[in-house]
């Protein structure tokens, strides 16, 4: 079972901070993140890519599911 974080409804910068803390703790593995704004999607993708994680973005209606892996 992959780990999952739901950042929907949280205001900036809480989504990216929550995901960053989780990634620092995990070190490797797969993390799924539910996101509801383009801003958070961009912030999280940029932060994860900069720290050598791979990010896949799937649009689900008005939300996004990011699958972050290393």
């Amino acid at each position: 079972m992959n780990q999952r974080i739901d950042t929907r409804g949280l205001s900036c910068p809480l989504p990216v901070v929550a995901v960053r803390n989780k990634l620092l703790e995990m070190k490797k593995g797969i993390l799924e993140v539910l996101v509801d704004t383009g801003t958070s999607k961009d912030n999280i993708t940029r932060m994860a890519t900069n720290t050598d994680w791979k990010v896949e973005v799937k649009e689900e209606g008005e939300e996004y599911l990011l699958t972050i892996s290393k």
């Binding site: 409804g9 900036c12 910068p13 901070v17 509801d36 961009d42 008005e62």
Partner: protein
């Protein structure tokens, strides 16, 4: 494809340069010195025009604010990012907007104008900038210990339209200038409020700024916050681009006058230049972004950001009515006291809405 194009580093740099050059040109075209675009000052002028304060020299419906919100709305609609949402501690956001404005008007400028004042050679702005960084740093402390205003909720489309409609209403007041028995709508006949670029040019330029800023998520407070908090320089490159572009434009347009004394719409009381911006920086960080960003968010349907903007308007009215706003002579009678009270309120908000409260309960 176009979506990725806008979130690349190139475009945050482009947006910063565009804002910097636009600000310098808007000054050349009539806006007050070092105030080509200033969210705090311009919201304050709007509050004055509506009669919420009676400082006769700062009353004008600034089309720049209208352009920011509507430009962001257009971008959000085009790129399917208009997402009406509300309900994340709106009253706290109102208070934060109010206090951010109190602090900004003690310094005499928002984070955008801090950069523009520096780009115009105003050395006093350095103290404001240091204050801003300190305020953001205190805000980051709270974010690190779990500060959270709670989740917002998806809501009805009409909620997201309220701010754009208010802006359209302001535009009508600006164009038709109705005169009511009370004297509103007020338009300054002297002072900074009487200095303005042609309405249509200002509107078109700021519609473009709103559009680009919505796409790139431009935010001056986020820029400093992200460098310290998550070691991300994306927004920061945009802010540096703004500063350099405004500086170069000012040099070319002969608007660069280095010094401390006699700077336009500024004072030399460095303690309160610093203190005012500590308060503003902290309030903006606790609310999630600089005043420009709050306008752009309110354009894309974020009703909590819109409440923050309404708090800024109320704060501007209060600041002039209760003599907390500074003038070029120095801080107002109640300026220093208002900064201290504002800081205490922000600290209470930061403390009571984070895990610190929980930890204290447990021990």
């Amino acid at each position: 494809m176009l979506k990725e194009f806008f979130s690349s580093r190139k475009y945050i740099i482009f947006t910063g340069i565009f804002i910097g050059i636009s600000a310098a040109f808007l000054q050349k075209l009539g806006n007050p010195a070092n105030m080509g675009v200033c969210v705090a000052c311009m919201v304050r002028d709007i509050a004055g025009a509506l009669g919420l304060h009676r400082a006769e020299v700062v009353q004008y419906i600034r089309p720049e604010i209208i352009g920011f919100v509507l430009g962001s709305l257009i971008a959000a609609l085009m790129f399917k990012e208009f997402k009406p949402r509300a309900g994340s501690a709106p009253l706290i956001r109102f208070v934060l907007g109010f206090l951010a404005m109190i602090g900004a008007l003690v310094f005499l400028g928002c984070p955008w104008r801090t950069l523009l004042r520096l780009a115009g050679g105003d050395g006093n702005a350095l103290f404001g900038l240091v204050g801003l960084v300190v305020g953001i740093w205190i805000g980051i402390f709270f974010i690190k210990v779990g500060y959270n205003l709670g989740r917002n909720q998806k809501t009805y489309p009409m909620v997201g339209w309220i701010m754009p409609v208010i802006m359209a209403g302001l535009f009508l007041l600006l164009i038709f200038r109705p005169q009511l028995p009370s004297g509103v709508v007020f338009f300054s006949s002297k002072g900074p409020g009487a200095q303005h670029a042609p309405v249509l040019i200002a509107l078109v330029i700021t519609l473009a700024i709103g559009f680009f800023a919505q796409r790139t998520r431009f935010c001056t407070v986020g820029a400093i916050r992200d460098v310290i908090l998550i070691k991300d320089t994306y927004l920061f490159t945009g802010v540096i681009s703004l500063l350099l572009a405004a500086l170069v434009s000012n040099l070319i347009l002969k608007q660069f006058h280095p010094g401390f004394q006699g700077q336009p719409i500024a004072h030399t009381n460095q303690l309160w230049n610093f203190g005012g911006m500590v308060l503003a920086g902290l309030a903006f960080t606790l609310a999630g972004g600089c005043p420009g960003r709050q306008l752009f968010l309110s354009g894309e349907g974020d009703a909590d950001a819109a409440v923050f903007v309404l708090g800024m308007i109320a704060g501007a009215g209060f600041a002039h009515n209760f003599a907390t706003a500074s003038s070029s002579e120095g801080p107002g009678l109640w300026g220093p006291a208002s900064v201290i009270v504002g800081l205490i309120i922000c600290l209470i908000i930061g403390f009571s809405m984070s895990d610190l409260r929980q930890r204290r309960k447990e021990t």
